[in-house]
Amino acid sequence: MVRRKLVLIVLSLVMLSLGLTGCGQEKPTLYVYNWGDYMDEDVLKEFEKEFNMKVVYDTFSTNEDMYVKIKSGGSTYDVIFPSDYMLTRMLNEGMLEEIDLEKIPNHKHLDPRLMGTVYDPENRYSLPYMWGTLGILYNTTMVDEEIDSWDALWDPKYSKEILMLDSQRDSIGAALLRLGYSLNTLDLEELAEAGESLREQKPLVLAYVLDEGKDKMVAGEAALALTWSGEAMYGISENEDLAYVIPKEGTNIWFDVMAVPKGSKNLEGAMQFMDFLNRPEIALRNTEYIGYATPHLAARAMLPEEVQNDRQAYPLDEDLEHAEFFVHLGETLRDYDRIWTEVKAH
């Protein structure tokens, strides 16, 4: 995955330099800033042709990298793809331009469950791009029972075969859900309880990982992993012994959005591009390329039967009964950090 990212970075540099040499014509340029490997890049070429526009495509690997680059103001992009919590932060800091839904008629295809969320209640700034859940990826050859609860990650049977995420909100979130609390809790006693249970769990944990976690699962290095559904789908496509489950106690719904940063010089093009990405056949190609779940209902309906009805990738409403979005925690984030440091320093 890292190699793929490297290749992409090199490619995007090459594309950038090609783009620079091609100056001189009057073609408007659209600057797009997306996650590495998070779009079928042939789609960009079609957009260029149809709208007679030039697309400069750069990629980033974390929300924070993207944030810093936009915040520092050194570069102007027209379309960016932040995650939910980063959307809140950028909105709070007034970093986003309003979008015009009338110019994006294709937004009507988007799943109403993912429209008008707490992050952007009227979709004045953003539209969902990909979404998913937080759950357990497990290896069916190493786990005999049916996994349906967060308790599995605390089961001494799997000592040293459990991977947790080195991400405070997600790991503390799983602990909170297991205890029956909200993963956005501001109650310090509940947090302390979650911290205590993570400390108890630590001897069972093989490692706290990020990107490398799915590769470890594919290689059969661990039996269970706390992971995001998108990563899980990638893992399953590489190793069919793997399975993903949304635990019954609840989950987190995450999503990445498309938005326009302040300072965009091609607002019109940005709207055209966002509408283009929401054309059913284009959205279909992107979700097939990335392997993540699309919020685009028409694109989903065109996916192969077994994919669009895959309850793990596209959970039913009843699976999401206890699902929550992450809410920006403000000052309490520091208490989460303290709890997490205590777990990790234990």
């Binding site: 944990v205 490692a207 990982v209 990790k344 320093a345």
Partner: protein, 273 residues
């Protein structure tokens, strides 16, 4: 050199060293308030809570162990390279330097796949009917990663100082009746101390502040001071606390350098760094 020719360097140093240092100090000694920010020692007070002191203690311990191992491995290697007995010293030198040309992250990722349960080393061991090696995601793996990555920083300064020692001095000691052991302890070792001091500093500092090695090879289970700083800036958005930890680190490193230069004695002019 004329004063005016120093000017570009001065500008560079002010812009990229002095100004950032003051920014770090500013963030460390202030806390944000609704009106902006106010002077406070709160960030430092927080650092001295037990949980953070524990992290500091672990970082110091692992850095000291790694530095010690690097010294034990590096000094003999530097001696071999500087000595006359080995004719291909350039090849050996190259072998130490070449890995440094490769990306640090890639080298660490390589260990990750070598050490894992079904990784190359364990496949080899089990095919020889030997027990599996289970050190990935332990302190040992972190120390291994540090030693592997930082060993050249120990070898090169020691080598550079050793190879500059006048052979006549060593021969004279032998002629005057000192046995090889005495020649080493009384002549070579004291003359090479500046190299050792540079090497120890060059290894100890990055080992103390690394966050990639502990995250990848330690499986994120062993928060080191570097991880703590990274987390404050990237995840928690608490630049004040992150800066305060950095300031504590700077003070610690200055202290250790002061202690080092005390041992260094008067041979400063030979030092490489």
């Amino acid at each position: 050199m004329k004063r005016s020719s120093l000017f570009p360097y001065l500008i560079w140093m002010i812009l990229f060293i002095v100004v950032p240092m003051f920014l770090v100090l500013y963030y460390a000694f202030t806390i944000p308030t609704e009106a902006g920010s106010t002077w406070s020692l709160e960030n430092f007070a927080r650092f001295f809570e037990p949980v953070y002191l524990k992290v500091l203690g672990r970082s110091l311990r692992l850095a000291l162990i790694s530095t010690g191992i690097c010294l034990l491995l590096g000094y003999p290697a530097a001696m071999v390279m500087a000595g006359n007995a080995f004719s291909r010293k350039n090849v050996l030198l190259l072998l130490f330097v070449v890995p440094m040309w490769m990306n640090f992250l890639l080298r660490t990722y390589a260990w990750l796949t070598l050490l894992e349960r079904n990784g190359a080393i364990n496949v080899l061991l089990t095919s020889l009917n030997l027990p599996r090696l289970q050190i990935l995601y332990t302190n040992s793996a972190v120390v291994l990663g540090m030693v592997y990555n930082f060993l050249p920083f120990m070898v090169l300064p020691i080598y550079s100082v050793l190879s500059k020692i006048d052979k006549g001095v060593v021969e004279a000691a032998g002629d005057l009746g000192a046995n090889p052991f005495r020649v080493f302890t009384k002549v070579v070792l004291p003359l090479s101390l500046p190299g050792v001091v540079s090497g120890v500093t060059m290894v100890f500092m990055p080992a103390l502040t690394t966050f990639v090695i502990s995250r990848l090879l330690g499986g994120g289970q062993f928060t080191l001071i570097g991880n703590l700083i990274e987390q404050q800036f990237l995840v928690v958005d608490n630049w004040g606390f992150g800066s305060a930890i950095s300031v504590v680190m700077i003070v610690l490193i200055l202290l250790s350098m002061a202690i080092m230069s005390f041992f260094e004695g008067e041979e400063k002019d030979v030092a490489l760094w």
